[in-house]
């Protein structure tokens, strides 16, 4: 098997607030390899969002170790973490977080402005990413003119634009109706087929069905780590 992309060992996160210490993650260990599609499941307060923030270099952890592609994350400073987010990670949020007064193309271009690419190269990357989520025909529309499903597809294109090693999706179907949600999940599965590594946080069992592996959390502990033998596909066509 290939070298692990994510290697987490005894990961612990404590929130300290006015002498009250709340454990969010307690000694979590797992490995994710390139090409996987992993769901992180659990009820509210299980620590799944905290875990995703740590894995996505947005938050720090209290103890344990986390190595990404062989790099020890513990020792990285603010600037290095920002560079990791820029080059290695793409985020998809529940609330899309598109800039309302910008077009689809401008939204997808946003992460490339922090890279050293030329303007031409950026445009090519953005157009490719938009193409990969089948939104080319809406490229010059403002994001406020899009439907919920379309917005999430644009957000996925934005996550892909810098060719990240991994895409983190935080409840990507949470703000969508079930039919639109299915299409988004299909898209994520397609992207996974095309070689993208995807980690999705969800509390919906139906959504997790689309992934190949499910990590279940409760009260900050990893309860189970199981492969999903009957990955759901179907109904969705581009």
């Amino acid at each position: 098997m290939s070298n692990p992309l994510i290697h987490v060992q005894d990961l612990t996160k404590l929130y300290v607030n006015d002498e009250v210490t709340t454990p969010a993650l307690q000694g979590v260990s797992f490995v994710i390899h390139p090409g996987e599609f992993v769901s992180i499941m659990g009820p509210s307060g299980s620590g799944k969002s905290t875990l995703m923030h740590i894995l996505g270099f947005l938050d720090t952890f209290t103890s344990g170790s986390y190595s990404f592609n062989g790099t020890d994350v513990k020792g990285l400073g603010d600037v290095a973490l920002a560079k990791m987010r820029l080059n290695e990670v793409g985020f998809v949020f529940q609330a899309f977080n598109l800039l309302q007064k910008s077009t689809v193309l401008e939204n997808v271009l946003l992460p490339t402005t922090y890279t050293e690419h030329t303007q031409q190269e950026r445009l090519r990357l953005a157009k490719d990413a938009i193409e990969s989520v089948s939104m080319t025909h809406r490229m010059n529309h403002y994001s406020s003119q899009l439907s919920g499903g379309e917005k999430q597809r644009v957000a996925i294109a934005r996550a892909l634009v810098n060719n990240p090693s991994i895409v983190y999706a935080d409840e990507p179907t949470g703000n969508l109706d079930s039919k639109t949600g299915e299409k988004v999940l299909e898209l994520l599965a397609d992207l996974n087929d095309a070689g993208h590594t995807i980690v999705m946080v969800t509390h919906e069992a139906e959504a997790a069905e689309y992934s190949k592996r499910i990590l279940r959390f409760k009260d900050g502990f990893l309860q189970s780590d199981s492969s999903n033998g009957h990955q759901r596909r179907g109904g969705y066509s581009k």
Binding site: T113, Y114, N162
Partner: protein, 411 residues
């Protein structure tokens, strides 16, 4: 992130809040515009006065009374009238001067037939025109005999002659100055203004007639003289001479012991320069206050902008923006705002200065020159940029400090 990207992004977000941005920079626009207009007018006025002073020639010396005896403490409101025609005679005899001429002013009713107006009357002598050159249009100038003979003759300024006599010949006509009858012997050609006095609206009579018949005094307001040699040496020699004439014991040449003041065109230039500098500092302080207020406005709106765009900031950080890059983006937005304000202010200020210059030239003073100091423009742009930098830093810093997770959750 490249600087061009930051500028582009900043312009984009300013464009999205166009009307708010324009309102925000109004304070800067007004502040910078005011600086330009004030500097332009200040320099114009200074230039005008300096030109008039320079026109007098660098060999010109004035002697005027001075409240000499005050030694510290508040200056006396009364200046003793200590300069008189004996001083003039002493100066003429000294050989230091090619011309010496007295001036004594009053404003009294002047009457010709039905015309009756208050007019400034100058008591002087024939040498006045050697010091301040003026052409005689009709008749003759005052003569030595007029002065020595206490003659009741008058030379009119051009406008007075026109007001009183219109097209008819004034020479030989009689006018009444303070109920005394004077014979018109001459009319000066157009002389214009000197020290903001319109010489064409004055009339000139022998200084002795003025002293004895009109005012009943023995002093003059000041003496003007043209120095034959080096002006500084002449001033010193003149001071010694006047101390002798006035019986003043002042071997060390202390100004406060003298009851007279000797000054030259150079001194006047210095005084005007000092007044100009004080004026500039005063106006600059007012402008600085308006720029301060403008800067606070910028800071306020940038803080609002940071709050409004909390989620955008969170997103930018999530996709890889460093704190520095977020800081720079907001700082450059603030700087672009103030620079734009500065630019509009400069353009507006220049236009207003030109318009005011045009109005002054055409309706008030045709010798006014419109000066728009290039240094003021450069200074304005620099100051505007600095304001953006100073007042934009705190909002930008607070944007850069935002926690991306909390920023993304912000409602």
């Amino acid at each position: 992130m490249k600087i061009s990207d930051i500028v582009f992004t900043a312009l984009n977000s300013l464009n999205r809040t166009r009307s708010r941005s324009l309102l925000t920079i109004l304070g800067i626009v007004i502040g910078i515009g005011a600086v330009i207009v004030m500097l332009s007018i200040g320099q114009g006025a200074q230039g005008l006065i300096l030109n008039q002073v320079a026109d007098l020639g660098s060999d010109l010396i004035f002697v005027e009374p001075s409240s000499g005896e005050s030694e510290g403490g508040p200056p006396s409101p009364f200046i003793e009238q200590t300069v008189n025609l004996d001083d003039e005679i002493a100066m003429e005899r000294s050989g230091l001067f090619s011309s010496v001429s007295p001036s004594l002013y009053t404003t009294v009713p002047v009457i010709f037939q039905e015309s009756n107006s208050f007019i400034q009357v100058v008591g002087t002598d024939d040498e006045q025109t050697s010091i301040f050159p003026a052409d005689v249009a009709l008749g003759r100038n005052l003569e030595k005999e007029d002065v020595s003979g206490n003659a009741r003759v008058v030379v009119l300024g051009k406008e007075i002659a026109e007001d009183f006599f219109g097209a008819s010949d004034p020479i030989g006509q009689r006018i009444k100055i303070k109920d005394l009858s004077f014979r018109v012997v001459g009319v000066f050609d157009e002389q214009g203004t000197r020290f903001f006095q319109n010489l064409d609206k004055q009339v000139f009579i022998p200084v002795t007639t003025m002293q004895n018949d009109i005012l009943g005094v023995d002093y003059v307001n000041y003496l003007s003289a043209i120095s034959r040699s080096d002006i500084e040496t002449t001033k010193e020699d003149l001071a010694i001479l006047l101390r002798e004439t006035h019986d003043i014991e002042n071997p060390n040449g202390l100004a406060e012991k003298d009851d007279f003041l000797v000054s030259s065109q150079t001194d006047a230039t210095k005084t005007v320069g000092t007044i100009g500098n004080v004026l500039t500092i005063l106006l600059s302080s007012i402008a600085a206050i308006s720029l301060l207020v403008g800067g606070i406005g910028i800071m306020n709106i940038m803080l609002v902008s940071v709050t409004e765009r909390t989620r955008e900031i969170g997103l930018r950080k999530a996709v890889g923006a460093t704190n520095q890059e977020v800081l720079r983006q907001f700082l450059i937005e603030a700087i672009l705002l103030t620079m734009l304000g500065g630019l509009i202010g400069v353009i507006g200020g220049v236009l207003i200065s030109l318009a005011m210059g045009w109005i002054i030239q055409n309706f008030f003073l045709d010798t006014w020159s419109v000066i728009i100091p290039p240094s003021a423009i450069v200074l304005s742009v620099v100051v505007a940029t600095a304001i953006g930098l100073i007042f934009g830093y705190y909002p930008a810093k607070s944007a850069a400090k935002l926690n991306p997770i909390e920023a993304l959750r912000y409602e």
